[in-house]
């Protein structure tokens, strides 16, 4: 026990040594792909998406180089704390639960969640009765997982997936009756890539704030306040000079 204590104190001391905020000239982002159109690989295998382009633009504005590191969603915050990368820019909703662990930038986009079901599904509205006995797919550890588990976990069976791809596959194979995910992601992966097979059921979901928070933010380690501040300033600049709107139009504009 004593030895363990000494070792952990030693570990703490070493951690404290490196804990002082440092000036970054190279920022590594953790990102969970694919999550089209926020982050995914295009046909050539290049990483792209709204988050990636905005992130690169922010880095250019600040004058740092950046690097994207792939990480599955359910380990993405632990990976940040373990210093595998310096920030997370991966469609992460800002909420209180996460704020206890990480430091968020200002929100850079707000996106509602939506229910998707095959066309002809018997579910045409969302409430406890219509969802009874249904199987619902969500991505593990997301705000959507928490929302569905807390509100409908008692009546429906909730299946949790590591990647959105596996979830879509099970929706196609009729293992799932519905999936609940970000509207824009479902729009691309289900409505556009499988035209005429899926539909949105019920209203878009943006409330309550307890789950859906204030929008997406970039997550940093708590002590990197200076870095978060630099990104906030850069975000404000990009919004002013039109770069942000240009990227936004490219992904979400009406063609």
């Amino acid at each position: 026990m004593k030895k363990l204590l000494t070792v952990s104190i030693l570990g703490l001391a070493m951690a404290a040594g490196t804990a002082q905020a440092r000036d970054y000239d190279h920022v590594r982002f953790g990102v969970d792909i694919p999550y089209e159109p926020m982050e995914y690989r295009d046909a050539d295998g290049e990483l792209t998406g709204f988050d990636i382009e905005l992130g690169n633009a922010l880095c250019a504005e600040i004058g740092v180089t950046c690097e994207w590191i792939e990480q599955e969603w359910d380990g993405i915050i632990p990976g940040l704390l373990a210093r595998n990368y310096d920030a997370i820019m991966s469609s992460m909703t800002i909420n209180e639960e996460r704020r206890q662990t990480v430091l968020f930038s200002d929100p850079y986009i707000t996106i509602p969640g939506a229910w998707f079901a095959p066309i002809g599904s018997e579910v045409d509205e969302i409430n406890e009765e219509s969802l009874a006995e249904k199987s619902i797919g969500v991505q593990r550890g997301t705000t959507f997982d928490n929302y569905v588990t807390d509100n409908y976990g008692g009546v429906a069976s909730v299946s949790r997936y590591s990647t959105a791809d596996d979830m879509v596959l099970d929706l196609q194979s009729q293992r799932l009756d519905l999936v609940f995910l970000e509207f824009i992601v479902g729009q691309v992966t289900l409505l556009e890539n499988h035209q005429g097979e899926y539909q949105v059921v019920g209203e878009m979901v943006t409330e309550p704030e307890e789950y859906f928070g204030e929008g997406f933010g970039i997550a940093f380690r708590q002590r990197d306040e200076a870095l978060a501040e630099r990104f906030n300033e850069a975000l404000a600049t990009l919004k002013e000079d039109g770069t942000y709107d240009e990227i936004f139009e490219r992904y979400f504009g009406d063609e």
Partner: protein, 239 residues
């Protein structure tokens, strides 16, 4: 005592809700492992006899089966069975679909086939190791092949296989941890859920690990008792 109270007051992870998840996970894991071991064992006995057959047309297909299932990772077998079946057109209309739709049955099938392959090889080794003298004695008594199998070879082979089989049971328990990749809420699935929700890897996984340890302890204890009973004739006699 004070620090303990403080710990409980601070605790936002182990609520009745998450304990419920762990409990359901424990039930799922136990069912999955127990059923797959049981069916696997029943399958393995005839397969092991066939595998030791002198006729190549009997032993070769069984060899191919055990080779394939021992030669590929269980995770890949699980993926193939869970995601693979849906690529058969019209599977949704067959009578099998209500079962294959759930994550439980594909996982059960994968685990059963896997453990049956290993158990077959364990038993085959034990059958092969039967002392020649015992077989010659049985022949001298005029026993038929099947009677000799029933009375002489299998009873002693099972006893010899017991320690190795006990290991297989423990491996199977630990291998079942991969069931959560196909959305099954087993013990590991519950731990992953708690981990992802509270970002608390230590608490979530240590708790699951402690439960696995208890299960392993029960299995070890059971097999020690079984060996004591069934292998009593091999112990040096004292007094």
């Amino acid at each position: 005592m004070e620090w303990f109270n403080a710990l409980l007051a601070d605790n936002r992870i182990f609520t009745p809700n998450t304990i419920g998840f762990y409990w359901e996970g424990l039930v799922t894991t136990t069912q999955l492992v127990f059923l797959s071991l049981l069916v696997g064992l029943v399958l393995a006995v005839p397969l092991a006899i066939g595998r030791s057959s002198r006729h190549r047309w009997i032993s070769l297909p069984i060899y191919v089966y055990t080779y394939v299932f021992r030669g590929t990772p269980l995770l890949i077998q699980l993926y193939i069975i869970y995601y693979g079946v849906v690529f058969f057109d019209g599977i949704q209309e067959t009578f099998l679909w209500p079962m294959l739709r759930e994550a439980f049955y594909p996982a059960l099938i994968a685990f059963t086939l896997n453990t049956a392959a290993y158990t077959t090889e364990i038993f085959r080794g034990a059958i092969k190791a039967t002392a020649r003298g015992e077989i010659e004695a049985a022949r001298a008594y005029g026993m038929s092949q099947s009677l000799m199998m029933r009375r002489i070879i299998l009873p002693s082979a099972f006893r010899r296989a017991l320690p190795a089989y006990g290991n297989e049971v423990i491996f199977m328990l630990h291998a079942s941890a991969i069931a959560s990749v196909v959305t099954l809420m087993d013990l590991t699935g519950a731990a992953r859920f708690v981990y992802a929700r509270f970002y608390a890897p230590f608490e979530a996984f240590l708790f699951a690990a402690a439960i696995y340890l208890c299960l392993t302890f029960a299995i070890l204890f059971f097999f020690r008792w079984l060996e004591k009973r069934l292998l009593a004739h091999l112990r040096p006699q004292s007094g």
